[in-house]
Symmetry: C3
C-alpha cells in the first residue's frame, strides 16, 4: 500500500583549528545540515539535504529513487558520485577531521542518474553524471560532456571488501570557469594550483581501487586514485596524470565497533560508562604529473605526503568529539624549493541525529 | 481557541534535458524545496518555504496572513504575485516541464501586501508590491516605485473559469541593475535580450485575460499577457509593448481528474493499478514590439512560437514522472536572419509530499 | 538515560517601510527562519537555525553544547557573542522595529567557544571567538587574531539587573576585506562609512555597561557601548574611539508582562479578549571619534541622535503586530554641513512559533 515513512535528521560539526603559520579563523562551523528522507510504499524514496557551512548555503543531496526488480534501484538528482571509498562515507563516521588526499582526485557530489544495488556482500553502481572537477561538488557544469562513473565493492570474505571505481568523461573549461580544481591539504591550504588561463580541455579518466578490512576492534581502509586530464595552457594541450592514496587504520578501545561506521558506546557516559573511544592513524599522499610544472602557480608542490593521528570519543550516541593532528610535507617541482611543511591540529565537536 | 496546526511538505524535481546544439548540464535538480504552514485559531496563518535549485538557495515564500471579516484575507511578505494563470499554479501540477511564454511577461514572486478572497466560484486579489521585472522573482528592488496588481477569476458555470489580471507600476533601472528581463525558452535559452545600457525607465503596465475549462477528463487553459514598459536606451526613451500567450489542453487517460491540479491514481501501481496517466499539448508564443530592434542584442528574436507535447505518469500519490518535447521557432527582427529553432526533450522525476 | 528531546520553531517578520526621501523596496521579508533544538540526556544540546531575509540565506546559529559541573555549560559553534543587552534579545521580543545604535558597536553573531552560566539571578559568559567588526555577524574572518568576550548580568534585587560586557582582540583588514563596518540607521542608511583603503589594523576593545528594570507593567533598558579600534588610512594608523547608547522604556497596557520578553495576551483576541498591547519609547545616540573625519566618506556624520515611539499588539500568542516611528538627526564633522535628518515608519507583522 501507500505507506509513507518520513525520517528527519541533521548534523552539526563545530571545529577549532590551529595551523602553524596561519591561524586565520580558528573557529568554524564546518557542517550544519538538516536532512529529510521519505519512503512511499517501501519502493519510492526521496531525500532532501540542505546544508550550511563555512558561510555558504547549498543543496548537498536532493534525489528521488524507485526500486526496480531484483534489488536494483534507479536514482535521479544530486548525490555523491559512486567513486571514492572515503568520499562515500558519512562525514560523522570519518576517523580524521578531513578526508585524505585520495579524495582530492575523486568526484564528490554530482547531478545525474544512477542504477545501483546495495546488498550485504555487494555494492554496485553505474551512473551518468554532469561531471565535476577533481574533489569537487557542483550543481551545474559549463561544458557539454557527461561522465560515466561505475563502482563495485564486493566482500568475498566476512570483514574484507575489495572494490574498484572507474570514471570516464570530458570537461572543457573557459578562462572564467577553468573547470580545474586546486589541490588542498586538510587545512584548506592549496598546495597545487593552476595558473590563470589554464583550463580543462577534453578527456578525463579516473581509476580507484579500494579495500577495507574490519576485524574485531580493527578497521582498516586503503584506496588509491589515479586521474588523467587533458588541459590546455598557453603552450597548448597537455595530458596530466596525477595520483593520490591513503592507508588508514583505527582501533576501538572502548565501545561497540561497527566497521566503516563510527563505534557506539556499549554504555553511555551519563549512565556511568565511558562511551566509545577510538584511535586512528593514517598515511596519505599525492603526486602530480611532472609536466604540471609550467602550468602551476609559483610555490606549488609536486608531491605531498601526510600522516595523521586522531582520537574520537562518543560519550552518548548523537555526540562525537575528536582531535586530529596532521603533518604534511611537500616536494617542489624540479628546480624549485620544497614548499614549507604544514602541521595542523583539528578539534571537533559533532552532533548527529 | 488558540489551536495551532502545523503542516510540513516538500518537493523534489530531478530533471534530465537534451537540447539540440547545446547539451550543457543535462542533469539538473530543478527544485528542492521544503515548506511549513502554520495556522492558529483557524484565523492566522504563516508560510515558510525555502528552496534550492540550480545552485541557489532562496526564500520562495514567507508570509503571514490574517482572516478579516467576510472571507477576506490580508497577507504580507513574499509570495506569488496574483497575476498569471500558469504562474499561480503549483509547479508539481504543471502539465509541461516549464511554464509557457505567457509567464515570461508576468510578475512571479514579489514582496508586498495583498487582500484576497478564495471562494469556490471566485478568486479575487488586490495587492501592493515592490514590483518585479517580467517573469522575475525578487526580494528587493532598486527603485522607489510600487506596483498595484489585481486579479479576478470567476466561475460562472461549473468547470468554466474566466479571469482578468491587471498590474500597473513603474520601474527605474541603473546600468548595474537594468531592471529588465531577458526572455527565455523552456530550455533557458535567452531569445531576446537587451543591450548593455538599456534600462527600465518609468511606467509599466500588464494586462492578462485568462480562462480554464475542466470537463470530465479534459482540462484546457488559455491566457494572454500584454505588457508595456518605458525603457531608456542610448537614443532616449521608448515605450515597448510585448505580448505572449498560450493555449493548452490535457486529457486524463487513467486516474482521477482534479481540474487544475494533477490527476491522482484511482488505484496506485504498487496495488496493481496503473496509476494516473495524462497527455497534454500546447501552443504558445511571444511577440516583441518591433521598436525593440535597436535595443536588443544581435541574434535576438522578434517572435517565438512553440508547441509542446507531454505525458505524465503518477504511479502513486507523491510521485510524478513526466516527459515533454518542445520545439520553438523564431523570427528575427526586420532585416535580420531568423534565429535557429530549438528542440528540447525534458524528462522529470518529481516527488511531492 | 539517553532521552532525546527535539523542539522545532520558526519566525517570520514581514515589514513595510516608509522612509522620507527614499522609499526603495518598501516591502521586505525581514526575517524568515526555522530552528531546531535537540537535547540528549538533559545534558548535551545542539541548535541549528538557518535563515532567509533580504535575499540572503545564512546560518544564524549552529552550535553544540555540553553541561559540565555546577551549572556551567560549554558551547562551540556559531551563536550570539555575549555582549550587547539588546543584541542578545530575541528579535521577536524587541520593542522597536530595529535594534538601537548601541548594537552598532557590539559584536553580533560570531564563531567560537564559550563557557556560560544561566541562573535566575545571574548570567555569566566567557568566550573565545574569531572576532567580528562592529555590529557584524560573520562565519569566517580574514585575520589571525581572536577576540575574548566576557559578560556578567546580575540581579541583586528582583526586577533590577546590572551588567557589564567586555571584549578585547585584534583585527587586520586588507584593501579587499577592510574588516571595518559602516554605521547605519534603523532604515539601513549608512550615516558613517570609511573611505576605500581604510582598514582595521590592530587592537580592538569594547566596553558595555548595561541595566534593565522590570517593575509591574514597566520594562526599561539602558546600555552604553564604547569601542576603540586601531585602523590604518593613507596617512598611517589611528586609534578611533566611538561610543553609542540607548535608553528605552515600555509599558504593557493590556496583557501579561514578561519582563525582557514580549507580553502575552491574558485573553486572546479570538476568545473575545483584546490581546496584549504595549507602547514604547526610546532615545539613542552614536558619537564617532573626531579623528575619524579624514577617514570617512563625504557626507558622513560625526554624531547621530534618534528617538522612536512604538506600539505592539499581540492578538494571540504566535502573532505580533508592530508600528515604529523613528527620527534620526545628524551632526557633520567639523567644517562639514550636517547630514539631512531621517524620519522612518516601520510596520511589521511577525509570527513566531
Amino acid at each position: 500500500d501507500g505507506t509513507v515513512t518520513v525520517s528527519v535528521g541533521g548534523k552539526l560539526h563545530a571545529d577549532a583549528r590551529v595551523v602553524d603559520g596561519d591561524a586565520a579563523s580558528p573557529f568554524l562551523v564546518r557542517r550544519a545540515r538538516a536532512g529529510v528522507e521519505v519512503e512511499v510504499a517501501e519502493r519510492f524514496r526521496a531525500t532532501f539535504e540542505p546544508g550550511f557551512g563555512e558561510g555558504d548555503a547549498e543543496l548537498l543531496a536532493g534525489w528521488v529513487e524507485a526500486d526496480l526488480a531484483g534489488g536494483l534501484r534507479l536514482r535521479a538528482g544530486k548525490f555523491k558520485s559512486p567513486f571514492g571509498l572515503e568520499s562515500l562515507r558519512s562525514s560523522t563516521d570519518l576517523r580524521f577531521a578531513e578526508r585524505a588526499l585520495a579524495t582530492a582526485l575523486s568526484p564528490r557530489r554530482d547531478v545525474g542518474v544512477m542504477a545501483h544495488v546495495e546488498a550485504p556482500r555487494l555494492e554496485a553502481a553505474l551512473g551518468l553524471f554532469n561531471g565535476v572537477p577533481d574533489g569537487a561538488s557542483e550543481d551545474r557544469e559549463p561544458s557539454d560532456a557527461k561522465d560515466v562513473v561505475a563502482r563495485v565493492l564486493a566482500s568475498p570474505v566476512e570483514g574484507v571488501s575489495v572494490g574498484l571505481a572507474l570514471a570516464t568523461g570530458a570537461e572543457r573549461g573557459t578562462s572564467e570557469v577553468p573547470a580545474l580544481a586546486d589541490y588542498e591539504t586538510s587545512a584548506d591550504h592549496a598546495f597545487l594550483a593552476f595558473r590563470p588561463g589554464v583550463v580543462a580541455d577534453g578527456a578525463r579518466q579516473r581509476v580507484g581501487p579500494q579495500a577495507t578490512l574490519a576485524r574485531g576492534r580493527l578497521q582498516a581502509d586503503a584506496e588509491w586514485t589515479w586521474a588523467r586530464h587533458r588541459v590546455r595552457g598557453p603552450d597548448g594541450p597537455a595530458d596530466l596524470e596525477h595520483e593520490a592514496w591513503q592507508v588508514a587504520a583505527s582501533v576501538v578501545l572502548s565501545g561497540t565497533p561497527r566497521g566503516r561506521k563510527r563505534p557506539l558506546p556499549s554504555r553511555p557516559a551519563p549512565d556511568g560508562g565511558i562511551g566509545a573511544v577510538e584511535v586512528s592513524a593514517r598515511v596519505h599522499g599525492f603526486a602530480a604529473d611532472p609536466a604540471t610544472a609550467p602550468l602551476a602557480t609559483a610555490g606549488s608542490a609536486r608531491r605531498a605526503l601526510a600522516w595523521a593521528l586522531a582520537a574520537h570519543w562518543t560519550p552518548i550516541v548523537p555526540v562525537r568529539l575528536g582531535a586530529t593532528v596532521e603533518r604534511t610535507t611537500f616536494d617542489g617541482f624540479e628546480g624549485e624549493a620544497d614548499p614549507r611543511a604544514e602541521t595542523a591540529l583539528f578539534v571537533r565537536a559533532a552532533f548527529e541525529l
